[in-house]
């Protein structure tokens, strides 16, 4: 293992120290590992909370700020945060109008967020579960689809809607509509290495790739020979288009890097994705290319598509000011 760290067990705590130093517009509760806005929203507006295991930076703390999240809760690397952390974040950001929890669909995240809601008592909470990964069959025989790239788009769009002063119910409805309208698919060229484990989570030979990989380095469903960017783009886009109809509406596309794939390759793949979508008659209205939801030092990428409309595009274009997404301000 070759990492720029001091001690494997201190990675999260020390990274949060650095985040606080780099972003005076944010505050960090180092005990509960909650990152929140230094300037809270006006009283009477709904607050947005997300969180999960660490190792996916900039998700989620990098999306705290005007136009997106009010706070993010950081669990240990690839491990859900605990109910007491989530409860602390929820009560801290509640401005009297309730808190929307955006939860990625993983067994641990669901259980810990559920327990926090049980403990929260007086605070009004709505929970929306993001489950967008087409690599996993959504059936009673699995824990359901994983929450991946779509989470970033939902945090942006619902965050903008929350700034407008919409109520908790409206925001939950919007978030659920977005969950139903987006899909993702990822591929890994190499495994990530969790600092505390010190070795790659899975072995992936030089000439193979893991199709349908999750964002925790959990193996995907199929191991395939390493392919060209063109063929890989096809393997990512086709299952998404087969799962949901993206025709006849404006579409938001994200080509996301898993952490160790350079931007030059991400843009190259995006070129292929864009061409494929054009051929399939999908009209791309907005695009985002970069490292937005990573898996430590995994090489690879994921594609996310979201069916939009004028309202959603308006919310997408609305001003945002966070460490990782910033425009219109």
């Amino acid at each position: 293992m070759k990492k720029l760290i001091n001690a494997p067990s201190d990675v999260l705590a020390e990274s949060l120290v650095g985040l606080a130093a780099a972003h005076p517009e944010l505050r960090v509760d180092h005990v509960h590992r909650v990152v929140y806005r230094a300037d809270p929203k006006p009283h009477g507006t709904v607050a947005l909370l997300s969180g999960g295991g660490s190792g996916h930076e900039p998700l989620h703390a990098g999306y705290v700020g005007f136009g997106m999240l009010d706070a993010a809760v950081a669990g240990e690397i690839f491990t859900s945060p605990t109910p007491d952390q989530i409860l602390e974040a929820t009560t801290r950001i509640d401005r009297g109008a309730g808190v929307l929890h955006l939860v990625k669909n993983y067994t641990g995240d669901i259980m810990n967020f559920d327990m926090a809601v049980e403990l929260a008592g007086a605070v009004a909470i709505e929970s929306v579960v993001v489950a967008d990964d087409v690599a996993v069959e959504d059936s009673t025989f699995t824990a359901g689809r994983r929450g991946t790239g779509l989470t970033v788009l939902i945090e942006k769009i619902v965050g903008a809607a929350a700034e407008q002063g919409r109520d908790l119910e409206e925001l939950a409805v919007l978030a659920r509509r977005l969950v139903a309208s987006g899909r993702s698919m990822g591929v890994a060229l190499s495994s990530s290495t969790v600092p505390e484990s010190g070795k790659p989570t899975f072995d992936l030979p030089e000439d193979e790739m893991e199709l349908g990989v999750g964002i925790h380095g959990e193996p995907g469903r199929e191991r395939v020979p390493l392919a060209s960017a063109k063929d890989t783009a096809r393997m990512l886009v086709e299952p998404i288009l087969a799962d949901l109809d993206f025709g006849g509406v404006p579409v938001v596309v994200m080509l996301n890097g898993m952490g160790a794939t350079p931007l030059i390759e991400l843009y190259l793949v995006y070129g292929e994705v864009s061409a494929l979508l054009k051929k399939a008659g999908v009209s791309v209205a907005r695009s985002l290319v970069g490292n937005y939801i990573t898996s430590l030092d995994m090489a690879g990428c994921s594609v996310t598509l979201l069916r939009a409309d004028d309202e959603i595009l308006g919310l997408w274009d609305a001003p945002v000011s966070t460490p990782a997404l910033r425009w219109g301000i």
Partner: protein
């Protein structure tokens, strides 16, 4: 026959040692079908539990369960925190405000813990989860009491947990992260079932 709170504390101390010994093995099992952090998370959780037990020295079974459960919930994370945490919260509240728990009642407390885990995780037997080790162990403890003494019941429970753990090798995961693998989850032991087997091995040692 009774189970004393000091035996319960001894159970946790022994389990902490077993988790440390098997830390790498648990993490390796998790790497195969999960995300490779089970050993680390369990070790962090039970180190915290033993530290808390040493400093607060609970005298009653309900206080013991609450302390263990809440410590796990706040220090383990993932799915294991809420699941093991719920197990001990229920076990403690069912065992009640007792310094010595009658064995029949302790069997009942184990069953309440099992019910809590099933409610929280919504897993059934043969879903390839910790329930596959926990449920047979809890049932075997009851059976053991009917025909033998406390030590025998605990030993039987430990053996049943190990058999349940081994059976997960041939099961298809239907819950948790391993369920994403479909048939690729076959041939691997479930890490949660493996740590549950260690939990009952520790119980058998503590009640020997």
């Amino acid at each position: 026959m009774t189970v004393s709170v000091s035996q319960l504390i001894d159970w946790m101390t022994r389990f902490d040692v077993l988790v440390e010994e098997h830390r790498t093995e648990l993490t390796d099992l998790d790497s195969a079908i999960g995300d490779g952090d089970h050993g680390t998370n369990m070790a962090r959780g039970w180190n915290a539990v033993v530290e808390k037990l040493n400093s607060e020295k609970p005298e009653y079974a309900d206080d013991f369960g609450k302390l263990v459960g809440m410590t796990l919930i706040s220090s383990v994370g993932g799915a294991s925190g809420p699941l093991f945490g719920t197990f001990f919260l229920r076990l403690g509240s069912t065992a009640g405000h007792e310094q010595k728990v009658a064995v029949e009642h302790f069997a009942h407390a184990l069953e309440a813990g099992l019910d809590g885990v099933i409610e929280r995780g919504k897993a059934e037997l043969a879903d390839k989860t910790m329930v596959d080790a926990l449920e047979p162990a809890v049932r075997a403890f009851r059976t053991g009491l009917a025909v033998g003494d406390l030590a025998y019941a605990a030993r039987l429970a430990s053996e049943a947990a190990q058999a349940g753990r081994d059976a997960t090798r041939d099961e298809l995961a239907h819950k948790g992260r391993a369920s994403y693998l479909g048939e690729r989850s076959l041939g691997h032991i479930d890490p949660g079932a493996a740590s549950t087997a260690l939990l009952f091995q520790a119980l058998a040692e503590a009640l020997a």
